[in-house]
């Protein structure tokens, strides 16, 4: 199993470098995207478009050429792995959006900003851990072994 660690390290480096390069580690820029009635900043749409297209094309090509298993023989999740729409997903997503709008942080950029020891990230990430534990312990979210 240890052979997969270097690849996951590289995946993390790509992800973190991409977040920083994209400008999404700057909360002001994210809020600029969400502020559609103000001086709108479309950058986030380019970032998501680029990421989404790369991931969608990459997984589709992999599936066609190499089949349904990953690099180390794991069965790769399909869209059904996400599960059906239910009340938790609706409510959770709305609550997430409120926090995202207040801070300009979603989980990835907040964690990336720990690398610069930004006070905002140092306040946000522990609070995010508490929130995640609350959802798991108090509301039964996140019980499976999936992502």
């Amino acid at each position: 199993m240890k052979t997969k660690w270097p690849l996951l390290l590289a995946a993390g480096v790509l992800f973190g470098a991409g977040l920083a390069l994209s400008g999404m580690t700057n909360p002001g820029r994210v809020i600029g995207f969400l502020d559609i009635t103000g001086h709108w900043d479309p950058s986030l749409a380019f970032v998501m478009g680029g990421a989404l297209t790369t991931f969608a094309v990459g997984t589709a090509v992999w599936r066609r050429r190499r089949g349904s298993k990953g690099l180390f023989g794991d069965q790769l999740p399909t869209r059904d792995g996400v599960g059906p729409i239910d009340r938790s997903i609706v409510l959770g997503s709305v609550i997430f959006g409120i926090g995202w709008g207040i801070s300009g942080f979603c989980p990835g950029p907040a964690i990336a900003n720990l690398a610069a020891l930004r006070p905002g990230a140092l306040a946000f990430v522990p609070a995010m851990a508490v929130g995640a534990l609350l959802a798991r312990i108090g509301f039964g979210a996140d019980q499976d072994e999936g992502s």
Partner: protein
Amino acid sequence: MIHSEYSFIDALAGGVLIGLGSLLAFLASGVIPGISGLFSRILRFPSAESVWRLVFFAGLLAGAGLLFASVDSASAYRPGSSLVGVAAAGLLVGFGTRLGGGCTSGHGVCGIGLGSRTSLVATVLFMASGIATVWLFRHLNIPLLK
């Protein structure tokens, strides 16, 4: 330090790197590598399942740190709200993403990328909610948060 004016090319190139990182993590781990899910999983008893996630996060910090130190447009930073506001937002984001089963990467990039309708609905909802929240705080001008 590389001096560069931020443009949509950076946004697009950064997005492609995020997509490549997600793709590599997906193929190597066999799980949908959403950041909120990976993060939540390390808040359990340590196991082989938490170690590879920690390795991924070590890479994420290294990659971001490298860019912060070398490209000035990458290190630009404007806080979204006061520290009290940010901490309250952290609680909401941690709670909401786990109740909702994913964040911007898990639903927005990977879930939609795999063709999940659930992820598309979740993404539309958290974007709409984020837009409404920014609008409200702009108009109410709440002193605690701004």
